[in-house]
């Protein structure tokens, strides 16, 4: 067959041409500059209109659920950090709560408040990232910088509490790793003040902005019925007019004692999602402020007296059997163990030897503490929930984050299933983009806030 020249093709002559207009197949991704996240959309275009789209995921699959089955129950905590890596604290607490439900234990009051405060701070970080990134993809780079600046204020708080910014591993079955640091409430209120200033600026820049509205209003819309049928939860469902929020519908921790509103919109398009997220950040700050005001502190119960002792010499004396007087002696711990002392641990962890590590001074200083520590850490021992199953939903930043755990009574999870909140919106993404322009793909994809770590697990 003769090669068709470019001229013939343009004129509609020669072989391989004619037969009417042909659709163009366009592969978007897996690594595309206008999309944050590794995903491939195989689109079919008629002119600039998307007529068919097939969404392919799995590029970040790393066998989270299989990995969880390999180690002890607490070993899965670091893996949960990497699910939704923008708000890892919520994942930590969700998983820990599922295991606690299996064990039928109730965490301490202070721990519940800490979990609420940290969850809300994470939620704000997540929404800031989502709104900032999607605004940037529409050309509003200033908004991205402002919002990342605000996220920085909040991540500093997270860093103060957990010692890390992203892979925080702060939750524990039965409590949290350590108590809040000194002066945390003041710092948080200050950070919220700065965040509110940023949100005001962003409102002035985006809400009502002609360019932004043109790109967002009426784009990527999904009807209320379809949103429900696709099991979409979180801001996307609330933007479609359904006020479903796990924190209100089935309250966990202390959410039933705190006042907050559930912002909803009616349109279900990208602009409604943006408005819901902006309003939710304010509500999250409200929740965290109330929780900070109500968190029970009480005096630190020091039930022993003695002089501080260096842990190395403490261990040396213990090894030589000179344990007299060592029990209950306070020791100065190295900085990376700070917050592991008895009074702090007592406040934030349940008093249950089956699940919570003993305070470090017990582990170093008494044979019972050491045995307790070993029984939880050594392979073949550890936390052993009774055989059974439990599902625990929490409100993640993107919607209902559920952990379904199955135990066979051993020290390892038999099955850990994470219900990722951003999988349903991605399953419905083709419904949002088909019939719209290629350029509308970008704001729609930004507004579903896909997080690869959670989507692909």
């Amino acid at each position: 067959m003769a090669q068709t020249t470019r001229r013939e093709f343009m004129l509609g002559e020669g072989s391989g041409t004619g037969g009417g207009p042909q659709n163009l197949h366009l592969g978007v991704g897996p690594a595309h500059p206008a999309m944050h996240g590794i995903i491939r959309i195989a689109a079919e275009l008629d002119g600039e209109t998307i007529v068919r789209a097939d969404v392919e995921i799995g590029y970040l699959h790393r066998a989270f659920e299989k990995d969880c089955e390999q180690g002890g129950w607490n070993n899965a905590i670091p893996y949960t950090d990497r699910l939704n890596y923008v708000s890892p604290l919520i994942n930590n607490f969700g998983y820990a709560s599922a295991v606690e439900k299996l064990l039928d234990i109730d965490v301490t009051e202070r721990c519940k408040y800490i979990r609420v405060i940290m969850s809300e701070i994470s939620r704000i970080c997540d929404h800031l990232t989502c709104v900032g990134a999607s605004a940037m993809e529409l050309g509003a780079f200033t908004v991205f910088l402002y919002m990342i600046k605000a996220r920085e204020f909040l991540w500093e708080l997270v860093e103060d509490v957990t010692g890390a910014r992203l892979t925080i591993s702060y939750g524990r079955v039965g409590g949290v790793k350590a108590d809040l640091p000194d002066g945390f409430a003041d710092k948080t209120l200050h950070a919220f003040k700065q965040t509110r200033e940023v949100l005001d600026e962003v409102h002035r820049l985006l809400t009502g902005n002609r360019i932004f509205m043109d790109r967002m209003v009426g784009v990527g819309a999904l009807s209320r019925e379809e949103t429900i049928a696709y099991a979409i939860t979180g801001p996307l469902l609330r933007a479609a007019g359904v006020p479903y929020d796990v924190r209100r519908a089935q309250p966990y921790y202390v959410y039933d004692r705190l006042e907050f509103e559930i912002p909803t919109q009616k349109a279900g398009d990208n602009y409604a999602r943006y408005l819901v997220r902006m309003a939710e950040m304010e509500q999250s700050m409200r929740i965290a402020e109330q929780a900070l005001a109500a968190i029970p502190s009480g005096p630190i119960n020091v039930d022993f007296e003695g002089r501080p002792i260096d842990p190395a010499s403490y261990v040396d004396r213990g090894k030589q059997g000179k344990t007299e007087g060592l029990l209950l002696l306070p020791i100065t711990l190295s900085p990376n163990l700070q917050g592991q002392e008895r009074p702090e641990l007592r406040r934030v962890n349940v008093d249950d030897k089956r699940v919570v590590l003993p305070p470090k001074e017990n582990a170093y200083g008494s044979i019972e503490g050491l045995m307790n520590h070993f029984m939880l850490i050594m392979e073949g021992y550890g936390i052993r929930p009774p055989a059974g199953e439990a599902y625990f939903p929490v409100e993640g930043a993107n919607g209902e984050l559920g952990f379904y755990v199955v135990s066979d009574g051993s020290d390892r999870p038999y099955r850990v299933r994470c219900r990722p909140p951003c999988l349903p919106p991605l399953a419905a993404l083709h419904r949002m983009i088909v019939g719209e322009m290629v350029a509308d793909l970008v704001p729609t994809f930004g507004s579903v806030n896909m997080i690869g770590g959670e989507l692909d697990r």
């Binding site: 429900i228 099991a231 199953e389 439990a390 599902y391 099955r415 349903p424 419905a428």
Partner: protein, 162 residues
């Protein structure tokens, strides 16, 4: 447990087992009756389970005491926005014939969730419109979340056909 009572009354022997554990309602359903039970749960006004929150499976091959029994359990987590209640439905399937009727006609989200279960466990969904793998690639051999799939098995990454 009005929900479980209602299901037992309506479906009789098709409800193999029920449990109410820590406030979580569970019903094990016979495979043949599954489409009817799911449709009833969605459409009955008193139940109104309009959201298929999650669909997954568990491989019970190495579960103490259940090594001989049906190997897989496909687990449906239902939620009702209007009634604000939850229900877990389970279907047991054998290793020889790991297949379950699809629920795509009831909830479109089942499309992807069933693809993931096929991908990870090798449980087929009869009548599924698009039975491809979801997370892994088509050339992948085996189903990694099965208990007899070793975690350290390596498989070649197969790129797109050139």
């Amino acid at each position: 447990m009005p929900i479980l009572d209602e299901l037992r009354r309506r479906f009789g022997d098709a409800i193999v087992e029920t449990a109410d554990h820590r406030g979580e309602l569970t019903a094990v359903v016979a495979r043949d009756a599954l489409p009817g039970v799911l449709a009833h749960c969605r459409d009955e006004a008193a139940l109104a389970f309009d959201v298929l929150m999650d669909l997954t499976a568990v491989d019970y091959q190495k579960f103490p005491g259940r090594e001989d029994g049906p190997r897989f359990e496909v687990v449906y987590h239902l939620y009702s926005i209007a009634r604000n209640h939850r229900l877990r439905l389970k279907v047991r399937v054998d290793e020889d014939d790991p297949s379950v009727p699809t629920a795509v006609a009831l909830w479109p989200i089942a499309n992807w969730l069933e693809r993931e279960v096929w991908d990870m466990f090798g449980v087929r969904f009869e009548g599924h419109p698009d039975p491809r793998r979801l997370l892994l690639y088509e050339e992948f051999v085996g189903h990694p979340l099965r208990k007899d799939y070793p975690i350290n098995r390596r498989q070649p990454l197969i790129g797109p056909a050139t």
